[in-house]
C-alpha cells in the first residue's frame, strides 16, 4: 500500500491538547441518565434503537410467516381460517416491507453515516428522534391490530376495489392506509436527514470520488425515497378519501379506475425493491474490502451502478402489471427497462467477485463474508428468475403463482436480509464492547442459508405446478402437498438460524460506551477510535480507505491533531462542508436531548392511529399535542450568529451560522419541496390517467366550467402573494428591527391573498354544481383543490409563525433562516396553485 500513501505533512492542531477539552466533549455529548435516557438524540443510541426495533419487526413478521407455513404444510389444513390467514399474509408483507426493510436500511444509515463521514452526528438529530419514535410507537400499535381482528387483509399492495368501501367496509383497510401514513412520514424525515448528512457533513477533503460506497448508496436511497414514496402517499390518500367520503377515484362505474391505484402503488413499489437492495449492496461493498484487505475493484463502476439502478428502477413499475391489459408496446418499454437494470446490477456483482479474486486475506472465512457469499448465491438466482418474469409472455403464465413468491423472496431475502446479517456481524464491534460469536454466527448462517433454499426453491416448482399466491389451503388431489411440506421444513430451519442469531446477541452484544475497535483492520472512518462525541478531531481525508493509506491517522485523530478537537461554542457542534469538494463552510450548532421531538412523535402516531378507528376527538387532541411539541421544538431552532467565528485549527475560522442557500436548513426545505412536488406530480398523472380512461366524464364544453375570469383572478392573487413575500424579504434584509410593522403587514397581506385565491377557486367550482362524489372527474378536480388547500393551511401556519418570531425579536437581517424557509415553501405553494389552476381550467377547454 506504500505507493498509495497520502501523508498529511501539516496537521491543523498542535498537541498535546488540554485534558479539559476531552472532558468537555465527553460531558457535552453524554446521553441523559435515568428515565430521561429515552430523550437521547445521539445517532449511535438512536441508531441502535432503530435497528433493534426493525429487527423486532423482522422477528414478528417472521413468526407470521411460520404460522402461514404451518397452515400450508398439509392440504386442507384447518390450523388457520381464511379470515385470519388473509390478515396474516397481509401483515407479513406489510410489516416486512414497511416496518422492517425500509426502517432497517435507514436505521443503519443513522447508526453508521456520521462516523463513516467523520461528523459528530447527523445534521438534524431531533428529526432522527422524531422519525424513530413515530415509527416505533405507531408500528407496534399497527401490529397490535392483529390481536383485535382489525388487521388489513387485502394483501400488502391493497388493490381496490377489494379494499374500497364496498368490499372492505370495516376498519381493517383503514389501519393499513392511515397506519402506513406515519411510516411514510418517518421514511421521508429519515431521507432528508441522510441527504443533508451525506452532502453537507463529510470530512474535509472527502470529495465525491472519495466518498465511501455506502454513503453513495444511502444518497441514492434517500433520493429514491424522495421521488418514490410520494406516489404511495398520494395513493393511500386517494383510497382513504374514497373509503371515507366516497370520492370515486377507483370506481369504474363513475369513471374511476382500479388500475390508477396499481400505477401509484407500483411507481413506489418497484423502486422500493431497490430502496432496500441498494443500501444492502452498499454494505456489501464496504464489507468485502475489509474481509479481503483490498480496495473495492471498480469503485467508479460501482457508483455508476448504484446511480444507474436508482434511476432505471423508476422505469419498471408496470412489470408488476403485465396482466392488466395495458397495450403490448407499453409493456415492452417496461420489459426493456427491466432488462436494462440488470446491467448495473451485474456490474456490482462482477466488481465484488473481482475484489474477492484479488483478496490478500480472506481465509478462514469470517461470518460476515459467509453471509455475503450466501447473498451472492441467492441474489443471483433471484436476479435470473427476475429476467424470466421480465419477459412478458412468461410473466403471463407465472403471474400470481408461487413462482413469483419464490422470485421475490430470492431477491429480497437474498438481496437484503443476508447482506443485513452480514452487516450485523461486521458492524457489531463498532457498537458493542465485544464481537458476536464466530461459532454461533456460522450456525446461524448455515441454518438460514440451507433453510432458505429448502423453503423457497421448491416454490418455483409449486408455482409452475399452478399453485396461486395467497390461498389459505388447497386440495390434496392437486399434488402440491409434498412441495409445501418441504417449504415448511425450510421455513422452520430459517427460524432456527434466526433464533441462534438472537441468542448470540443476548450473549455477546454489549453497549458499555466503548466499542471493540477495528477488529477487521478495515480502512474506513467508522473504525477510528470514537466515543459519544464520535471522533476526538475531524480528519482531513485524502483517500477512500484513509485508515489504510494515511499513516498514523487513528492516533492523530485521537490526539486531537485534526480539526475541531474541542467544543469552542460550549455545545454540540459539527463541521458543515461544501457538497462537492467537502471544504469547511461553517460550524453547525446542534441540539441536545429534549422531550419535544419525542412527544411530537407520539402525537403524530396517535393522530393517525386514533383517526383510523374514527376516534376523532382523541385524534384531534393527539394532533394538537404533536403540533404544539413541533412548535416548541421549532422555536429553539434558527439560533442566529450567536457566537463569533471559531478557530477549528489550521488557521481556519468558521462562522457558527449561515443563512440562504448555504444553510443546511435551506437544503432540507428544498428536499421537502421535491417531496411535495412529487406528490403533486403524481396527482397530475392521476388527472391525465383518469381522462385517458374516461374522457366522457370530462366537461363536454366550457359552459360546464367556471367562467375563465375566476381562475385568472385567483392566479393573479397567488402571484401578488408571492410578490408580497418577496417585498417582505427585502424589507427584512434592509430595515432595522425598529420598523417591524411593514414586515408583519406584508406577511399578513400575503396570507390573506393566498387564502382568498384558494377560496375563490373553490367557490367557482362549487357554483358549477360539480361535486367530488359524482364522478372521478369531480373527485380529481376537488383533490387538486384540496391539495392546494392543505398547502395554503401550512403556509398560513408558517406565515403566522414567522410573524411571531419577528414579534419576539428572533428574526432580523442576519438571523433569517425561518423566513427564508417560509419564503421558499411559499413560492412552491404559489407555483403549485398556478399549475393546478392552469390544468383544471385550461385542459377541458383545450380538448373541447
Amino acid at each position: 500500500m506504500a505507493e498509495r500513501d497520502k501523508t498529511i505533512t501539516h496537521l491543523p492542531n498542535a498537541t498535546p491538547r488540554a485534558d479539559a477539552e476531552l472532558e468537555q466533549l465527553k460531558k457535552i455529548w453524554q446521553p441523559p441518565s435515568g428515565f430521561n435516557f429515552i430523550t437521547v438524540v445521539n445517532n449511535t443510541y438512536i441508531g441502535v434503537f432503530y435497528v433493534g426495533t426493525a429487527v423486532l419487526f423482522f422477528l414478528l413478521a417472521g413468526i407470521l410467516a411460520l404460522l402461514m407455513r404451518t397452515q400450508l404444510a398439509i392440504p386442507e389444513n384447518d390450523f388457520l381460517g381464511h379470515n385470519l390467514y388473509n390478515q396474516i399474509f397481509t401483515m407479513h408483507g406489510t410489516v416486512m416491507m414497511f416496518l422492517f426493510a425500509v426502517p432497517a436500511v435507514e436505521a443503519m444509515g443513522v447508526l453508521l453515516l456520521p462516523n463513516m463521514l467523520a461528523a459528530r452526528d447527523l445534521p438534524f438529530p431531533r428529526l432522527s428522534v422524531y422519525a424513530y419514535w413515530a415509527y416505533a410507537v405507531g408500528g407496534l400499535v399497527f401490529f397490535g391490530s392483529l390481536f383485535f381482528d382489525l388487521a388489513p387483509r387485502g394483501g400488502w399492495f391493497m388493490y381496490p376495489p377489494l379494499t374500497s368501501y364496498e368490499f372492505s367496509p370495516s376498519h381493517n383497510a383503514d389501519f393499513w392506509l392511515l397506519g402506513i401514513g406515519f411510516i411514510e412520514i418517518s421514511a421521508i424525515a429519515g431521507a432528508i436527514e441522510i441527504v443533508i448528512g451525506v452532502l453537507r457533513t463529510r470530512a474535509p477533503g472527502m470529495t465525491l470520488d472519495k466518498m465511501p460506497i455506502y454513503a453513495w448508496s444511502m444518497l441514492v436511497l434517500a433520493g429514491m425515497i424522495i421521488f418514490a414514496f410520494p406516489a404511495v402517499i398520494l395513493g393511500t390518500l386517494l383510497l382513504e378519501i374514497e373509503r371515507s367520503f366516497h370520492w370515486p377515484f377507483f370506481i369504474a362505474a363513475k369513471g374511476g379506475d382500479p388500475l390508477l391505484w396499481q400505477h401509484l402503488f407500483w411507481f413506489f413499489g418497484h423502486p422500493e425493491v431497490y430502496i432496500i437492495f441498494l443500501p444492502a449492496a452498499g454494505m456489501v461493498s464496504m464489507i468485502i474490502p475489509a474481509m479481503t484487505g483490498k480496495p473495492l475493484v471498480g469503485y467508479r463502476l460501482v457508483v455508476l451502478a448504484l446511480i444507474g439502478a436508482g434511476f432505471l428502477s423508476f422505469g419498471l413499475w408496470v412489470h408488476h402489471m403485465f396482466t392488466t391489459g395495458i397495450p403490448q408496446l407499453s409493456l415492452s418499454f417496461f420489459s426493456a427497462a427491466s432488462m436494462a437494470v440488470s446491467i448495473p446490477s451485474g456490474i456490482q456483482i462482477f466488481a465484488w467477485i473481482a475484489t474477492i479474486a484479488a483478496a490478500k486475506r480472506m481465509w478462514p472465512l469470517k461470518v460476515p463474508m459467509l453471509f455475503v457469499l450466501g447473498f451472492f448465491f441467492i441474489f443471483v438466482l433471484g436476479g435470473l428468475t427476475g429476467v424470466m418474469v421480465a419477459v412478458v409472455p412468461f410473466d403471463w403464465q407465472a403471474h400470481d403463482t408461487y413462482f413469483v413468491v419464490a422470485h421475490l423472496h430470492y431477491v429480497l431475502f437474498g438481496g437484503m436480509v443476508f447482506p443485513l446479517f452480514a452487516a450485523f456481524y461486521y458492524w457489531a464491534p463498532f457498537v458493542s464492547a465485544q464481537q458476536l460469536s464466530k461459532r454461533l454466527g456460522k450456525w446461524a448462517f448455515w441454518l438460514m442459508f440451507i433453510g432458505f433454499n429448502v423453503a423457497f426453491f421448491p416454490m418455483h416448482i409449486t408455482g409452475l405446478a399452478g399453485m396461486p399466491r395467497r390461498v389459505y389451503t388447497y386440495s390434496e388431489y392437486l399434488g402440491w402437498g409434498p412441495l409445501n411440506m418441504i417449504s415448511t421444513i425450510g421455513a422452520y430451519t430459517i427460524a432456527a438460524g434466526v433464533l441462534v442469531f438472537v441468542i448470540d446477541l443476548a450473549l455477546n452484544f454489549r453497549i458499555r460506551g466503548n466499542n471493540a475497535g477495528n477488529v477487521w483492520n478495515a480502512g474506513t472512518l467508522e473504525w477510528l477510535p470514537s466515543g459519544n462525541y464520535a471522533n476526538r478531531s475531524i480528519p482531513i481525508i485524502t483517500s477512500r480507505e484513509p485508515l489504510w493509506d494515511q499513516p498514523n491517522l487513528a492516533e492523530d485523530v485521537d490526539a486531537g491533531r485534526y480539526y475541531l478537537p474541542n467544543a469552542p461554542t460550549g455545545g454540540r457542534e459539527t463541521i458543515i462542508t461544501s457538497p462537492v469538494d467537502a471544504r469547511p463552510q461553517y460550524l453547525l450548532q446542534m441540539p441536545g436531548p429534549g422531550w419535544p421531538p419525542l412527544l411530537a412523535a407520539f402525537g403524530t402516531a396517535g393522530f393517525f392511529l386514533l383517526l383510523t378507528v374514527k376516534m376523532v376527538v382523541p385524534a384531534i387532541i393527539s394532533g394538537v399535542i404533536a403540533v404544539a411539541m413541533l412548535m416548541r421544538w421549532l422555536w429553539s431552532t434558527d439560533p442566529g450568529p450567536s457566537h463569533p467565528p471559531v478557530d477549528i485549527g489550521g488557521g481556519i475560522k468558521l462562522p457558527v451560522y449561515l443563512n440562504g442557500a448555504a444553510s443546511h436548513s435551506w437544503w432540507a426545505m428544498v428536499v421537502l419541496i421535491l417531496v411535495s412536488g412529487s406528490i403533486f406530480g403524481a396527482l397530475i398523472f392521476s388527472y391525465f390517467f383518469l381522462w385517458t380512461v374516461s374522457p366522457e366524464i370530462w366537461p363536454a364544453s366550457g359552459n360546464a366550467l367556471p367562467a375563465i375570469r375566476w381562475p385568472i383572478i385567483s392566479a393573479g392573487l397567488l402571484l401578488a402573494s408571492a410578490g408580497t413575500i418577496a417585498y417582505a424579504g427585502r424589507r427584512l434584509r434592509t430595515k432595522s428591527s425598529l420598523s417591524r410593522w411593514p414586515f408583519h403587514t406584508a406577511m399578513l397581506v400575503a396570507i390573506m391573498l393566498l387564502t382568498v385565491a384558494f377560496g375563490l377557486d373553490l367557490n367557482s367550482q362549487s357554483q358549477t354544481g360539480l361535486r367530488p362524489q359524482h364522478s372521478a372527474y369531480g373527485a380529481v378536480v376537488y383533490m387538486i383543490m384540496s391539495m392546494q388547500g392543505f398547502f395554503v393551511s401550512i403556509m398560513i401556519f408558517m406565515g403566522l409563525y414567522t410573524v411571531a418570531r419577528s414579534a419576539a425579536g428572533l428574526l432580523n437581517a442576519q438571523r433569517r433562516a425561518t423566513f427564508d424557509n417560509t419564503m421558499l415553501f411559499w413560492y412552491y405553494t404559489v407555483a403549485q396553485g398556478i399549475i393546478g389552476l392552469a390544468l383544471v381550467h385550461s385542459f377541458p377547454r383545450l380538448i373541447e
Binding site: R300, L304, L329, S332, I343, V580, A661, P695
Partner: protein, 114 residues
Amino acid sequence: MRASPFTHNFLLMFSGPLIWAVHFVAIYGFIGIVCARPAMNLVWLGIGIATWGVIGAGFAAIAAIAAVYLRIKPRDAAPDNRSFIRWMSLTLSLLSAIAVVWETMAIFLVPACA
C-alpha cells in the same frame, strides 16, 4: 440566474438518466393516449404515428444525451472531482442511451396497440 456548482455538477452527472426518464414518460404517455384514442392513430408514409413518435423520441433522446455530454463541463470542482464527474456523466449517459435504444427497438417487434 447561475446554478450553484452543486446543482450544475449533479445535473450534469445525472443528465443521461434524467433525459432517459423524460423519454420514458413521453413514449409511455404518448402510446397510452394514441391507443386510447384510435382516431389519433394517423398514418404517414404507410407507418403509424405511434411508430414515428417512438422512433423520433428515441433519436431526440440520444441527441440530447450526446449534446449535454459534449457541450457542458464540470464547474468549480477540485481536479479529482472534475474527472470523476466527467467520467460519471459519460458512463451514465451510455447506460441511459442503451436503455433508450432497447425501448425504441420494441416498436419494431411489437404492434403498437394490440
